[in-house]
Amino acid sequence: MSELDYVGKRILRKDGPDKVTGKAIYTVDIQLKGQLVGRILRSPHAHARILDIDISLALEVPGVKAVITGKDTLGIKHGFVETPRYPADQYPLAMDKVRFIGEEVAAVAATDVYAADKALSLIKVTYESLPAVFDPEEAMIPGAPEIHPSHPKVKEDLVNIGGKTASGWGDVEAGFQEADYVREDRFESHLRTHGFLEPHATVASFEADGKLNVWTSSQGPFIKRAKLAKTLGLPQSSVRVKKAYVGGAFGGKIDLYTHEFCAALLSMKTSRPVEIIATREEIFTAYRHGQPMIVTVKTGVKKDGTIVAQEFKTINNSGGYRGSGVVVIFLVWGFAMAPYRIPNMKYKGYSVYTNNPIRSPQRGHGAPQMRFAVESQLDMIAAELGISPIDIRLKNARVSGEMLPNGDNVHNCGLKDCVLDIAKHTDFTAKFGISRTEKQGRYRKGIGIGVSAYFGGSLIYPNSSSVIVKMNDDGSVSLLTGSLDIGQGSETILCQIVAEELKIPIEEVQVFAADTETTPVDIGVWISGNAYVTGNAAREAAGDVRRKLMTIAAEELNADIENLIFQNKRVYISGQPERSLSYEELVALSIQKHRGDSVIGNGHWRTMRDEPFHPSLATTKGRWTENYAFDAQTAEVEVDTETGNVRLLKAVTAHDCGFPINPLQVEGQIDGQVSMALGHAFMEEIMMEKGRTLNPSWLDYRMPSICNIADSEHIDVITERYQVGKPYRTKEVGEGYVSAILAAIANAIYNAVGVRLFSTPFTPEKILKGLEKIK
């Protein structure tokens, strides 16, 4: 087998120079002739009926070119999920009712922002205010204000249920009977936001020929095209979503957003390009954040720590529309069942409508919430049973080849190695064992561990990725992919794969990406599947080219295909390097002798290629993914017992991400996730009161700064291989590592000072309260 030259190497990012030199063009940089500014009018009511909208005064403002309301739309609903069970539930512009403060009611296009805002202030909306409810547990109780009718298939005496996931196996009651120790705890996770630096931004330009060109800050152009076309009533072929650089997304830019729809419709109305850039305050107050969640977990174990039964109940606060609420209650089931063997399990999750802004995925999409609960409780159980946190995890960890209850196989699973390696690396047992009575003084240290597992590339529209690799006359390569690099480095790894398959310097692979018209379909850079799905598609496309080059070379050199070696843009016969042909020559020969074939390769890939559908969100039945990533993370913290401040001193991540295509990027992803989790743990919180955000700025919403970042170390647990010409199974690396570390921090705080935290964030105030209690 030949050595790897590009894959598995610490190759610098393709997009780096553009970004560092300021050459990168983001959506806000797009300036077209005659471009108008769009602004959106939002509801000041958490829940109200719209009785009337009068736009006449707004239209008179000089510079205003168009005003649109729900009446100007086709009234076609959309949703993060659009399935028969969960049909679309949101109008792009409110029609009859508003269900959260900030819901979009009208939009204006004008020659400048002053005119646009003036017009917004002159739109007169008559509302009939309705009672509102913000807390999901209150919203579920019969008698609460009805935001939407409860899901017809949920037969319990509950209201405002957007969806329910129920699953299980074995017999939990019998399991609890059989258990030596049973405990139940409730954990709450708070509301955070993604914190991408580039705001939501869209430029839409409806051309005279009927084509709608769109640049938008997103996580993939194809889903945007599909939803824009649907809600605007245009054929998909009339909508072209083009590439612009994206300044971060973290789950917050996936499906259709109203500003995208409005920019498009305003452009259609005015025949001029329209730009809408959300203000940071709008993003904080009216856009989608992550998922706050209540997790109740009851666990029964044997004396030796073996889990015999686990029962879960989760409640999400989905906001005024479904958003990804019905997805997260499904996903957390998966995050509960993946890492450990649970012989008897019962799960129910409720997604509850409230009069809050809509929720979306956020990096980890439920995993931090679920792992925080399970891993915190596991430490409590271990302490009760006198078992070490390492042993209890090893006891229950899944191993290679294990089948999961949903029919998935974990394949090569490195979880146990992750736990063992990290314990050794951190000298966990010795540090953990220092008794609290020995810890004196103001600052006290502690160590904690958590584990997690994450899926990759599950089936969601558009379900597959295709890639085209073209040889150029000069022997260089063009790579056409619908994948969008949102800062996570997808273009770089796709180039590495093509470079490897074709043994061509990475600089000679040019990427053309993320244009719905000229590049092939792509699953998008979410559901953690790009490196696997699009990566394999790129490998196949490059392999296609490789085969063609090989055939011609074999003919011309009069050699057996097996004896041909690819190296540095040449093909030669093994042992006879003088008998060789350059790629340039091979392309010319192909055109000459293969009826004009200019050597173009196609590749496509799909997760679980024989599964027609994604799993049921309601019952969890059906396959979920074919590659699970596993990890163990430790946190070492220092608690200031006077102020209650906790500092994360060091995070270590032992990860089984399959095969790291670019170790540098893997480490970058891990470090980024550790710092994100640090923000989650200690400082970031959207403070809301009755549907209104109290801290809608970077100043009052505290993301960690460089002063807060902790040491982050990595341990590779490599379970897969990359071989030229063969499919590979690389696993997820972009989301899973925000999870275990959160639990590890909570466990480390307990180890340091004996304060057990049941809710995030771990504020100094909570720590002080806890310390006071145990004094």
Partner: protein, 335 residues
């Protein structure tokens, strides 16, 4: 977000600035703009005319013949942290300036602007286009979102620097249509969140005067935040200690606290108690307790009163300890 439209005036003299200021209601002084511009973007004020202080003659910090320190109100916070005169005569001021916001903001922000900043409140410091649309008391309305039952505004005054000027017994020179006057720093504050400053619309602070300080003295400034940078204080405490020659007995203490009330506060009770006592660990603990329990504390930015009291105790102790440690260094150097 963007600024509303306005006219910019750049007077070349204080007199010209005063007369421009006094010419209409719609005028506002502009220094670094780091407090004013965000408020204008939020539409908390929309002055038609901004009178920039940037064009006025400026001067570096000076020590006059009476050993007083005279500082241009328009000095940037960065310049404060770098001035040898300030580091010598009023190091406490530099300690506080160093803790404000970030380097970029300190480069723009000025001393005058810092001590004249507006009070802050979560319900206030944002636009009100669809959230909190009904104006609260501070915006000319009738209700308060923060304490709905009362009829009072509770916005807090967050300057990090003002408390240290209290400690240093500073005064300000104010120029106005009625001429120039020197007033004690305490007097420019009203302790009214609605209008925290007593300055009249035509008045400009031109200079800050720090009187000759008794030596030996100790300085301490503690600012508590969550992320250590670009954040207003949860609470801040300035401490200035004058000691007897032994450097261990407190002759006079000045302790001032910011961010937890309508204006900076002196911890007078605590100060009196410490005077004449030894600066022992025990006494510092006690005086910190006293400071925390005797001062007014308004819960702000999501922090409860109980927690803020605890913070104040710890930060007072921190500032006092720093001051005492500084004294110990002096005594070591002296030897």
């Amino acid at each position: 977000m963007y600024l509303p439209k306005f006219t910019l005036e750049s007077p070349r003299s204080i007199e010209e600035a005063v007369s421009l200021l006094g010419s209409g209601e719609q005028t506002k002084l502009l220094s670094g703009g780091t407090d004013l511009f965000p408020r204008m973007k939020y539409k908390l004020c929309s002055p038609g005319v901004l009178i920039s202080l940037k064009g006025l003659p400026s001067f570096p910090p000076q020590i006059d013949e009476e050993r007083k320190l005279i500082i241009d109100a328009n000095i940037s916070l960065t310049a404060i942290t770098l001035s040898p005169e300030i580091l010598e005569k009023a190091p406490l001021l530099a300690l506080a300036a160093q803790k404000v916001a970030t380097r970029e903001i300190r480069n723009m922000g000025t001393l005058g602007g810092n001590i004249c900043q507006e009070t802050r409140c979560l319900y206030l410091n944002q636009t009100h286009t669809f959230q909190f649309t009904e104006p609260c008391l501070k915006r000319g309305g009738k209700e308060c979102y923060f304490a709905p039952k009362g009829k009072k505004c509770w916005a807090t005054f967050m300057s990090d620097i003002a408390p240290t000027l209290f400690c240093l017994n500073a005064s300000v020179i104010v120029a106005g249509l009625d001429g120039e006057q020197q007033i004690k720093i305490e007097e420019i504050y009203t302790n009214d969140s609605l209008k925290p400053l007593s300055l009249k619309p035509d008045q400009i602070i031109t200079k800050i005067i720090v009187p000759k300080t008794q030596s030996p003295s100790g300085n301490g400034f503690a600012k508590f935040t969550v992320r250590k940078t670009i954040e207003f204080a949860i609470v801040n405490v300035g401490v200035f200690l004058e000691t007897e020659k032994d450097l261990k007995t407190c002759k006079k203490a000045r302790i001032a606290v910011g961010a937890v009330s309508e204006g900076p506060q002196r911890a007078l009770e605590a100060e009196d108690w410490l005077a004449g006592k030894s600066l022992s660990k025990e006494n510092i603990n006690k005086v910190s307790q006293k400071a925390a329990s005797s001062l007014k504390i308004i819960p702000h930015h999501g922090y409860s009163k109980k927690y803020l009291t605890e913070c104040l105790k710890i930060q007072s102790k921190q500032a006092l300890n720093d001051a005492v440690e500084g004294l110990a260094d002096q005594s070591n150097r002296g030897r």
